[in-house]
C-alpha cells in the first residue's frame, strides 16, 4: 500500500511538466493598455499573472475605465486610480473546477471565485504558422465578446491565458471581434519536472474571498463611486450633471446569470 502511494506521488511529480508562456495583454477598454502577463501551468492547474511591469502606469489599475488624471491644480495632478501593492492574477484549478482571481474595487482587494467557465469552441478549418507552431483557428463567445483564437496542439493543454480555456492546445493568439482585447504569446519555456507550486510561490492571495456573482455588482458600481467621489470634491464652478450609466466596458460585458434573467423576463 505504501509503495502504491509512493508510486502515485512519484508519477505525479515526474510528469508534471511545467510550461511558462509570456504574453502581451492588450486592452483597449476606453484607454489602450499593453501589459506583460505570464501563464504558467502543468496538467492540473494554471496561473496567469501580471509580470512585473516596466512602467509605473502598468502598476495602476488599468482595467478600469476612469483611470486617468484629474484636472491639474497647481503642479499636482490627480490620479484617479488605486495603486495597490497586490498582484493581479488568475488561477485555474481543474481538479477542483475552480477559478479565482485577485482584483480590487476602489481600495478594497478581493479574491473572486467562480467555476471554470466552459467555453463552447467552434473549430474552424483555417491554419497558420505562428513562428514554428502550426496553429488552427477556433472561435467562441464568452461573456459578451466574440473571440477568435489561434491554438497549437503541439503544446497540449486545456488551460489558457486569462479565463480562456478548453481548447486542445495552447492559445498563442486571442483577439476579440472589436480588437479591444488582444492576447499574444511572446515566448514559450518548458521546464521538465519542475514544481509548479514553487514557481508561483510569490503569488499570495491577499483579498477578501467573494463569489463572482457578488463581485460583479461591486465592480459595476465602481465607476459611479469614483465619479461621486471626484464630483463631491469639486469647487463651485463645477455643476453636477445627469450621468447615464455606461454600458460595461470591461473584459466581460455580460454574465451567464444575467442572460438567464433576461430569458426569464
Amino acid at each position: 500500500m505504501r509503495h502504491f502511494f509512493f508510486l502515485i506521488l512519484f508519477s505525479l511529480a515526474s510528469y508534471s511538466q511545467v510550461t511558462k508562456v509570456e504574453y502581451t495583454f492588450y486592452k483597449n477598454l476606453g484607454y489602450p493598455v499593453t501589459q506583460n502577463w505570464t501563464l504558467v501551468f502543468n496538467n492540473y492547474e494554471s496561473y496567469f499573472y501580471k509580470t512585473n511591469s516596466d512602467t509605473k502606469e502598468n502598476n495602476a489599475n488599468q482595467d478600469k475605465v476612469l483611470n486617468n488624471k484629474h484636472s491639474k491644480d497647481n503642479s499636482f495632478s490627480h490620479n484617479i486610480n488605486f495603486k495597490l501593492d497586490a498582484l493581479s492574477f488568475y488561477h485555474l484549478d481543474f481538479n477542483k473546477d475552480s477559478l479565482y482571481f485577485q482584483a480590487n474595487v476602489l481600495e478594497d482587494l478581493y479574491i473572486v471565485n467562480e467555476q471554470i467557465p466552459k467555453l463552447k469552441w467552434n473549430i474552424v478549418d483555417e491554419f497558420k504558422i505562428i513562428d514554428n507552431y502550426k496553429c488552427q483557428k477556433a472561435t467562441t463567445s464568452f461573456r459578451g465578446r466574440s473571440y477568435k483564437a489561434w491554438f497549437t496542439t503541439e503544446i497540449p493543454t486545456q488551460t489558457g491565458p486569462w479565463k480562456v480555456n478548453g481548447l486542445p492546445g495552447l492559445i498563442l493568439n486571442l483577439v476579440d471581434e472589436n480588437s479591444q482585447v488582444v492576447l499574444s504569446a511572446l515566448k514559450v519555456n518548458f521546464y521538465p519536472a519542475l514544481d509548479l507550486k514553487k514557481e508561483v510561490e510569490f503569488i499570495v492571495p491577499k483579498g477578501k474571498p467573494i463569489s463572482l456573482k457578488d463581485f460583479v455588482p461591486l465592480s459595476d458600481n465602481e465607476i459611479d463611486e469614483i465619479i461621486k467621489r471626484s464630483r463631491s470634491k469639486s469647487n463651485r464652478n463645477y455643476t453636477s450633471s445627469f450621468i447615464k450609466s455606461k454600458t460595461r466596458h470591461s473584459l466581460e460585458i455580460s454574465y451567464e446569470w444575467e442572460q438567464e434573467e433576461e430569458e426569464e423576463d
Binding site: S11, Q17, Y31, N43, K69, F94, G169, S234, S240
Partner: protein, 915 residues
C-alpha cells in the same frame, strides 16, 4: 439508424389520430430527435499512463487523416475518461496529447450509429524543446498614444450633438457646462479633420454639431501642440480630433440663442454660431450681444490668446506697453456680472484655409463694442501718526469701448521633419470714459481717452533632427502704443502748485511706445534613459519711450507745464541669455529638474535733462525642482529658485505722473534689479479618488530688494515716490483636506490659508514704518456627488486680515473679519429638465450691523426637447434684488467702506435652436 427513424414516425402517426394538436407538436419533436440520433456517433474510453494511472485533462481530438484538421475534440475528466460526439463517418484518427506525454494517434473508422470505445495508454515524454520566442503579431496597429474610436460602434441612437456621442465613449466624460475630459484631464483642443478653429472654446462645436457627421474620433494622449515635439517634450496634454463623414463636409450649421426679459428695462442676451467644415476651408462665425453684465469677449478670449504655458517659441509673450493712469473702478469680490452695467456687441469670423498639402492659413478677426457704467461710493478714513481725516468719493462712470482684433496663422510643412509657422496679429483698442465724481462735496468731471495699438509678429521654425532631438528657432517683433489723454475740470492740487491760483482744471497726456525684438534658439534632447535636456540661447531687445505731460489749465485754456511733472524717458534693455534645463529621472518615482539661466543685461536709461545711465550686468538664475512619490499615498514636491527681475519702464521714469484724480507717482529714475529667493514645499497625502485626500503647501519668498513708497499724503492729494528697500518677506501656507462619506455620497472639505508679509515704507515726515500684513482664512464645505436627481453644495469661510504699523512714535493696527457662505442646490429631473438655485451670503464684520449682510440668489432652469433642436431656459439673477453691496477694506494708512451699485433682479427667458 433508418429503422429507428421509421419506428418513431409510426408512433407519431398513431398519436395523430387521438389528439391532433398535441400530435403535430410531437411529430415535429420526434422528427428532430430522429435526426439527432441519426447524425451522432459516440467515441468514449479511458486514457492511462504506463503504470495504469488515469491521465486527467488530456486532450482528445478527432482529426482527419490527410491534413490533421481537428474535427471535434474533448478532454479527459479527472478519472481519465472521455467521451466525444461526432457527426462524421469514414476513416479518421483519434489523437491523444497531454503535457509530459508523447502524442498518440489511433486510426479509427466511424460507422453511422456505431459506438466506439477506444482506451489507450500514453508514454511519458518530456518536452525538451528549446525555449521559443514568438514574433507577436498584433492584428490592430495601435498608433502610440492615439486611440481611435469608430463612431458607429458607440452610437445608441439617441445622440443629437457631438457631446452626446462623446458621452458614450469609455473613458470620456462631458460635464454639464460642456467641458470634455478624457479620464479627468480636460482636452486641449477639439479638432475637425485635424484643424483647430476653436482652441479652448471648443464647446461651441461639441454642443452644436450633429453627431451624425462623425465618422471617427481620435484621442491623442501626451499631445504636443507642436507636432514635431511629439515624443520629445514632457506632455500630459490630451487632445481630440473628429473625422467627418464625407457627406457632412461643407455643410453649414449652427445655432442661435435668444434671450429676453426684465421689468424695469429691456434685458437681452443673444448669440449666434454658424460654422462649416470643408476639405479646403473651414469657417466659424460668432455674433453676440447682451446687457446683463456678461463679458462678450469671454467667449472667444481663448481663441485670441490661448493660454499656453511652457511652450517653445514663446519669446516675447506678455511684452506690452503700459498705461499709467486709470479711473478707479476696482470691483468687489462678487461675480463680475453683478456690477457690470453693459451693452456689449461682438462679431467674429474665424477661418482655416488649406492652401495645399503643406500650407495652411488660419485667420481670426473680431470687433467688440461695449458701453459700460459703473457706480460706487467710497468712504476712506486715513489714520496717520500726525493726523487723521476722511475722504468721500461719490463716483459714477460711463465708458465706451471698442476693440478690433485680427490674427493670421500660417503653417508651412516644409518637409516631414521641418515646419515653419508665422503668426501676425493686429490689435486696436479705443476707450472713452467720462466720470462724475463728487469728492468731499466738490463735484468734478473727469474725462479719459485711452487707446491701444499693437502689432505682433512671430516666426517659428522647428526641425526634428531625429527621434530624440529637436531644434527650434523663433523670432518675434512687437510694437505696442498706449496713448492716454486725461482732463479733470477741478483743481485739487493748490498745495502742490502754490503759484497757480488761476488754474481751473488739470490734464495729462501720456504715451508709452514699446518696440520689442526677440530671437531664440532652442534645443531639446530626450535621452535614451528618458532624461530630458533642454537648452536655449536667445537675445531680446526692448525699447520704451515714455512721454507724460501734466498740465495746469486756466480759464482761457492756457496750459502750464509744471516742472517735475513732465517725463520724457527712453529706456532700452538688451538681454542676451542662455538657459539650460535638465530633467533627471533618478528613479521612476523621483524626478529632479535643474534649470540655470545666464543673462548678460545691458540697460540704457535716459530721462529728460539727465545724463544717460548705462548698466552692464551679468547674473545667473538657478532653479531646482524635486518631485518624489514616496509611495502610493505620499508625494512630496519642492522648489527653490533665485530670481533677478529687471526694473521696467513704469519703475524707471524720473518725475511725477498723475495716476488717478488725486495721486501722483514718481519713478525710481535708475536702472535697477530686484532679487528674490523663493522656497516652496508641497505635500500630498492620498490620491484624488481616495476617501481621504489632503494637500499642504508652504511658500517662503525673500525679496532681497523691493520697491516700496515714500508717500506724501494730504486730504486732497497723495504723491508716492518709489524707493528701494531691502529684505521684504512673504510667507504663506495652504492646506485642504477632503473626506468622502459613502453613506451620504458626500465630501467634507476643510480649507485653511495663512499669509504674512512684512515690509517698510514712509509716510509724510515719518520715520521708517514697519508694516506687518497678516491674513488667514478657514472654511468648510460639504458637497454631494449623486449621479442624478438632487445635489447640494454648501460652505462657509471666515477671512480675517490684520495690518499692523509700527514706527518710532506711533503704532496702529487695523483688523477685519468677513464671512462668506453659500448654498447651491440643483435638481436634475431628467435629461430634459434641470434646475439649480445658488445662494450666497456676504458678511462684513466691520460694517454697521444694519447693513453688513448681503444675500444673492440666482436661479436657472433648462428644458431640452427630445430632439435637442429646441431648448428653453429660464434664469433669474439677483432674486433678492440687492441693489447695493458694501465692503470693507484695510491698508496700512486707511480703512475704507465702499458701496457699489448692482444690476437689479433680472428674469430672462431664452430659446436656443439649431439650424
Amino acid at each position: 439508424m433508418n429503422g429507428s427513424k421509421k419506428r418513431k414516425k409510426k408512433i407519431s402517426l398513431t398519436k395523430l389520430k387521438k389528439t391532433p394538436l398535441f400530435s403535430i407538436q410531437f411529430t415535429f419533436l420526434s422528427l428532430l430527435i430522429g435526426m439527432f440520433t441519426f447524425a451522432q456517433t459516440q467515441i468514449q474510453g479511458v486514457v492511462k499512463d504506463s503504470i495504469g494511472e488515469p491521465i486527467s485533462y488530456a486532450n482528445v481530438m478527432l482529426q482527419s487523416v490527410e491534413n490533421n484538421h481537428i474535427l471535434s475534440f474533448t478532454a479527459t475528466k479527472q478519472d481519465g475518461k472521455y467521451s466525444l460526439q461526432t457527426k462524421k463517418v469514414g476513416d479518421y484518427k483519434l489523437v491523444f496529447t497531454s503535457l509530459g506525454f508523447a502524442k498518440k494517434e489511433i486510426p479509427i473508422t466511424l460507422v453511422d450509429g456505431e459506438e466506439l470505445e477506444i482506451n489507450t495508454t500514453l508514454v511519458e515524454e518530456e518536452m525538451m524543446l528549446d525555449n521559443v520566442v514568438i514574433e507577436a503579431d498584433l492584428p490592430i496597429k495601435v498608433k502610440k498614444d492615439t486611440v481611435i474610436y469608430n463612431a458607429d460602434s458607440f452610437r445608441r441612437g439617441d445622440e443629437i450633438v457631438v457631446e452626446d456621442l462623446l458621452k458614450n465613449l469609455p473613458g470620456v466624460q462631458v460635464d454639464t457646462d460642456g467641458t470634455i475630459k478624457v479620464g479627468d484631464r480636460e482636452i486641449e483642443r477639439l479638432m475637425v479633420d485635424g484643424d483647430d478653429l476653436f482652441e479652448k472654446g471648443y464647446k461651441v462645436l461639441s454642443k452644436n454639431m450633429t453627431s451624425d457627421a462623425i465618422d471617427k474620433i481620435e484621442i491623442y494622449d501626451k499631445y504636443s501642440l507642436n507636432k514635431l515635439l511629439k515624443g520629445i517634450e514632457e506632455s500630459d496634454r490630451v487632445a481630440m480630433n473628429i473625422q467627418l463623414k464625407e457627406a457632412y463636409k461643407q455643410q453649414w450649421f449652427g445655432n442661435a440663442d435668444l434671450g429676453v426679459g426684465g421689468f424695469d428695462q429691456f434685458y437681452h442676451k443673444n448669440r449666434v454660431n454658424l460654422m462649416s467644415f470643408g476639405k479646403k476651408s473651414k469657417y466659424y462665425f460668432l455674433g453676440n450681444t447682451n446687457n446683463i453684465g456678461v463679458d462678450a469677449i469671454g467667449d472667444i478670449s481663448q481663441m485670441i490668446r490661448p493660454m499656453r504655458y511652457d511652450q517653445p517659441g514663446s519669446v516675447g509673450d506678455g511684452e506690452k506697453a503700459k498705461s499709467l493712469l486709470g479711473l478707479y473702478t476696482d470691483v468687489p469680490q462678487l461675480k463680475r456680472e453683478r456690477t457690470n452695467f453693459n451693452d456689449a456687441r461682438l462679431v467674429s469670423l474665424n477661418a482655416i484655409h488649406k492652401i495645399n498639402d503643406k500650407m495652411k492659413l488660419r485667420t481670426l478677426g473680431f470687433f467688440n463694442w461695449d458701453e459700460n457704467q459703473f457706480f460706487r461710493n467710497t468712504n476712506t478714513q486715513f489714520v496717520l501718526d500726525n493726523e487723521s481725516f476722511t475722504n468721500t468719493e461719490d463716483f459714477s462712470m460711463n465708458k465706451s469701448k471698442f476693440l478690433g482684433f485680427g490674427k493670421i496663422d500660417y503653417t508651412y510643412d516644409i518637409a516631414k521633419n521641418k515646419m515653419l509657422e508665422y503668426t501676425g496679429s493686429f490689435n486696436s483698442g479705443d476707450n472713452a470714459s467720462n466720470s462724475n465724481l463728487v469728492f468731499n462735496g466738490n463735484s468734478t468731471l473727469e474725462n479719459l481717452q485711452d487707446d491701444n495699438q499693437q502689432i505682433d509678429q512671430k516666426l517659428l521654425y522647428t526641425q526634428k533632427i531625429n527621434d530624440k532631438e529637436v531644434f527650434l528657432l523663433s523670432t518675434r517683433y512687437i510694437n505696442d502704443e498706449s496713448p492716454q489723454a486725461y482732463v479733470n475740470n477741478q483743481f485739487l492740487f493748490t498745495d502742490v502748485f502754490e503759484n497757480a491760483n488761476d488754474t481751473e482744471s488739470v490734464g495729462q497726456i501720456s504715451e508709452n511706445k514699446m518696440h520689442f525684438y526677440g530671437a531664440e534658439a532652442e534645443y531639446k534632447n530626450r535621452r535614451e534613459n528618458k532624461d530630458l535636456l533642454e537648452a536655449v540661447v536667445g537675445a531680446t531687445y526692448r525699447k520704451d519711450e515714455l512721454f507724460t505731460s501734466f498740465q495746469l489749465i486756466d480759464e482761457e485754456q492756457n496750459s502750464l507745464l509744471p516742472e517735475g511733472f513732465q517725463n520724457e524717458t527712453e529706456y532700452a534693455v538688451l538681454d542676451v541669455y542662455s538657459k539650460a534645463k535638465y530633467l533627471l529621472k533618478l528613479k521612476e518615482n523621483f524626478n529632479l529638474t535643474g534649470k540655470v539661466e545666464a543673462h548678460q543685461l545691458v540697460n540704457r536709461l535716459q530721462n529728460i535733462h539727465q545724463e544717460v545711465q548705462q548698466q552692464d550686468l551679468f547674473y545667473l538664475q538657478p532653479q531646482l525642482n524635486m518631485r518624489w512619490e514616496i509611495n502610493n499615498k505620499n508625494t512630496l514636491m519642492s522648489n527653490y529658485s533665485y530670481s533677478t527681475n529687471n526694473a521696467s519702464i513704469i519703475d524707471v521714469y524720473q518725475n511725477n505722473v498723475l495716476t488717478n484724480f488725486r495721486g501722483f507717482n514718481r519713478g525710481f529714475a535708475q536702472p535697477t534689479q530686484l532679487n528674490a529667493s523663493s522656497y516652496m514645499l508641497m505635500y500630498r497625502l492620498g490620491n484624488f479618488g481616495d476617501k481621504f485626500f489632503a494637500n499642504a503647501s508652504i511658500n517662503y519668498i525673500q525679496n532681497h530688494d523691493f520697491f516700496s513708497n515714500r508717500s506724501f499724503i494730504q486730504q486732497e492729494f497723495q504723491i508716492n515716490e518709489k524707493i528701494l528697500i531691502q529684505d521684504q518677506e512673504l510667507f504663506y501656507v495652504n492646506t485642504t483636506m477632503d473626506r468622502y462619506f459613502k453613506a451620504i455620497s458626500s465630501n467634507l472639505k476643510f480649507k485653511f490659508n495663512f499669509s504674512q508679509s512684512e515690509f517698510v515704507n514712509f509716510v509724510n515726515e515719518s520715520s521708517e514704518r514697519n508694516i506687518n500684513n497678516q491674513s488667514y482664512s478657514y472654511g468648510l464645505e460639504l458637497r454631494s456627488g449623486f449621479l442624478g436627481g438632487f445635489n447640494y453644495h454648501l460652505g462657509t469661510e471666515f477671512r480675517t486680515s490684520k495690518v499692523q504699523t509700527t514706527q518710532a512714535n506711533f503704532s496702529n493696527t487695523f483688523s477685519n473679519t468677513d464671512n462668506f457662505s453659500f448654498l447651491d442646490l440643483s435638481y436634475v429631473f431628467s435629461e430634459q429638465l434641470n434646475v439649480s438655485l445658488n445662494t450666497e451670503r456676504y458678511y462684513f464684520g466691520n460694517l454697521e450691523s444694519d447693513n453688513n449682510t448681503y444675500y444673492f440668489s440666482d436661479f436657472t432652469a433648462m428644458y431640452i426637447t427630445k430632439n435637442k433642436k429646441l431648448n428653453f431656459g429660464l434664469s433669474a439673477r439677483n432674486l433678492f434684488n440687492t441693489r447695493t453691496f458694501r465692503n470693507f477694506s484695510i491698508s496700512d494708512i486707511s480703512t475704507s467702506t465702499t458701496s457699489y451699485r448692482l444690476l437689479p433682479r433680472i428674469f430672462l427667458l431664452n430659446v436656443n435652436f439649431k439650424f
